[in-house]
């Protein structure tokens, strides 16, 4: 089965600024992929290219289609929340549901209504009367009621309080996700999505610096906290990053010799957040 998203040498520049620099990646069906990178790394540009919202160079296929040219067809099978608070202020909640039900063949009104019922937001209110968090919930209800093969979420929970964030991710995994769907998600709060992702793509300065499944991360990477006397021995094992912590130094390794590390200190596996910081703050000093 071909990949759901296939990008080869995906490049996009705004004048002199290169937002995407020959990025290569693919996303398989049935995965929940986190696209993770610092501000300005090219996350949003990558998503916009995938969704047919911007022109680009290189080859890009999403659900077998060329996004910019075939956006209309693509949007029957893919849906997205590109950013928070983009529902127009004049739109009424019930009109929004009527509209999407009217134009989207895969929209399920009953589902949207039951999602909205949980939020307590009533139909005749306009977006401008809702708080930022409520607007996001309306948008999420509209989007999650679409039976799409690909769901793209760009910072979906920005502006939501912790209860709403947790409820959203629970609903995403338990009610929405199944083997027919694929989710691509960007967020700043890596810790929050870490345990629901199956794959991560790290992006930095427009390039993909890591493309890995979470199982791979746990077997491929390890860190060891060593005291000062073992530091030189530990550095000899070629860590790719290190940082001081509580009088010790934590060193990060790819494909480490675990037996050797265990002799030097306490070994632990890396969380996505750890790995992200380690990968993106450069090599060992």
């Amino acid at each position: 089965m071909p990949a759901l998203i296939e990008a080869q040498d995906l490049t996009k520049s705004y004048g002199a600024h290169v937002a995407l620099d020959r990025a290569n990646f693919s996303v398989e069906a049935g995965r929940i992929v986190g696209l993770i990178g610092p501000n300005g790394a090219g996350k949003t540009t990558a998503l916009r290219a995938i969704l047919g919202l911007t022109a680009y160079q290189g080859r890009l296929q999403v659900l077998g289609r060329e996004p910019l040219r075939d956006r209309t067809e693509l949007m029957r099978d893919a849906c997205f929340i590109a950013d928070v608070a983009v529902l127009p202020s004049w739109l009424r909640v019930d009109h929004a549901i009527d509209f999407v039900a009217g134009v989207h063949p895969r929209f399920r009104r009953d589902r949207a209504l039951s999602l909205l019922a949980k939020t307590g937001i009533t139909g005749r209110r306009r977006m401008r009367e809702l708080s930022k968090g409520m607007k996001t919930q309306v948008h999420l209800a509209l989007t999650m009621a679409i039976d799409a093969k690909l769901l793209v979420l760009d910072e979906p929970t920005l502006g939501l309080d912790i209860l709403a964030r947790r409820a959203f991710y629970d609903a995403l995994v338990n009610d929405y996700m199944d083997e027919t769907r694929t989710i691509l998600i960007t967020t700043h709060q890596v810790e929050e999505v870490e345990n629901l992702l199956t794959d991560v793509l790290f992006i930095d300065k427009g390039r993909i610096v890591l493309d890995s499944s979470l199982e791979d991360i746990s077997t491929r990477y390890a860190a060891v906290a060593v005291a000062a006397d073992k530091l030189d021995a530990a550095r000899a094992e070629k860590p790719f990053h290190e940082r001081p912590m509580l009088g010790k130094v934590v060193l990060y390794y790819e494909h480490p010799d675990l037996a050797k590390l265990a002799a030097m200190g306490e070994v632990h596996s890396l969380s996505v957040a750890d790995l992200f910081v380690a990968k993106l703050s450069g090599g060992a000093e």
Partner: protein, 289 residues
């Protein structure tokens, strides 16, 4: 077709002015009819009642038409820009609706839907005003109730809506291009390029072809009407030694054949079509302000 229907509904939700302005204008005119001073002395008694009725209907319809022209211009300038300004363009683009369909829905709203709303509002207002005025000024008699005049007015409205939609297509499409392109100040951006072109032509070539072309385009829907002299039947009335000529009916004035066979009409339409393609391309690629 279903999608087009929802897109037009969406325009009504977003732009409540589409019906609020004609409603307010109609209400204002009805108030004037109710409480304004009716000065029948200003109407020369020699004028045939047909002329008085026709004048009344044309004045009411003309008022609505002028307001409509101003509002439609603003609507076209704002419609695509507004989506980018509040970033809702990202929501609209998450729907399986092509940019072509979206742009055409805006164009159709400006050239057909809005005129139709004003047409209905003008008719309703004229009807109520005629009713009120006939009661308030009994000496008007049946002047405002000539059925054939009402019929002519309906035909005139439809004729003007269709001919203006074709004639003003390049201008409407140009406004859409500005709306899809400008980062701010759509009004300014819509006026500056034509002015710059006119001035540049005058400066470098000392000619004013562009200015003339723009002038004919802006005020040139007269091509759809026959020149007054000789073609039509007139009613002549003498009032205080002055001869007043008024048209007996509109039929002789309409010139659909001349309008449709004029190259100017179709050159304009072709330019309009090209500009619509530009607007669609811009809508496809520009999502940011």
């Amino acid at each position: 077709m279903k999608t087009a229907n929802w897109l037009v509904r969406r325009e009504f939700w977003e732009n409540r002015a589409i019906w609020v302005i004609p409603t307010v204008l109609g209400a204002f005119l009805i108030l004037v009819a109710l409480f304004g001073k009716v000065d029948l002395m200003a109407i020369p008694s020699q004028l045939p009642s047909q002329t008085v009725g026709g004048g009344f209907l044309l004045a009411a319809a003309g008022t609505f038409f002028v307001v409509m022209a101003i509002y439609s211009t603003w609507y076209l300038l704002d419609c695509l820009y507004a989506d980018r300004k509040d970033r809702s363009v990202l929501f609209w683009k998450s729907m399986p609706i092509s940019d072509t369909t979206t742009v055409m829905s805006k164009l159709a709203t400006a050239l057909i839907v809005i005129p139709a709303v004003y047409f209905a509002a003008a008719d309703l207002t004229s009807l109520l005003m005629a009713f009120i005025l006939s009661i308030r000024a009994r000496s008007l008699g049946g002047a405002l109730w000539h059925a054939d005049l009402w019929l002519q007015l309906q035909v005139l409205w439809l004729y003007v809506i269709v001919t203006s939609a074709i004639w003003y297509l390049p201008i409407a499409a140009y406004l859409l291009v500005v709306s899809a392109w400008a980062k701010r100040a759509v009004m300014l951006w819509s006026i500056l390029p034509p002015i710059a072109l006119v001035l540049a032509e005058r400066w470098f070539f000392g000619t004013h072809v562009i200015a003339n072309q723009l002038g004919t385009r802006l005020f040139g829907v007269e091509l759809a009407f026959r020149d007054a002299q000789g073609c039509c039947s007139w009613v002549t009335t003498v009032v205080d030694d002055k001869t007043i000529r008024t048209p007996a009916n509109i039929w002789g004035f309409l010139n659909p054949g001349g309008f449709l066979s004029s190259p100017e009409t179709w050159i304009g339409a072709a330019i309009g079509a090209a500009l619509i393609v530009c607007a669609i391309q811009l809508r496809m690629r520009r999502t940011e302000i």
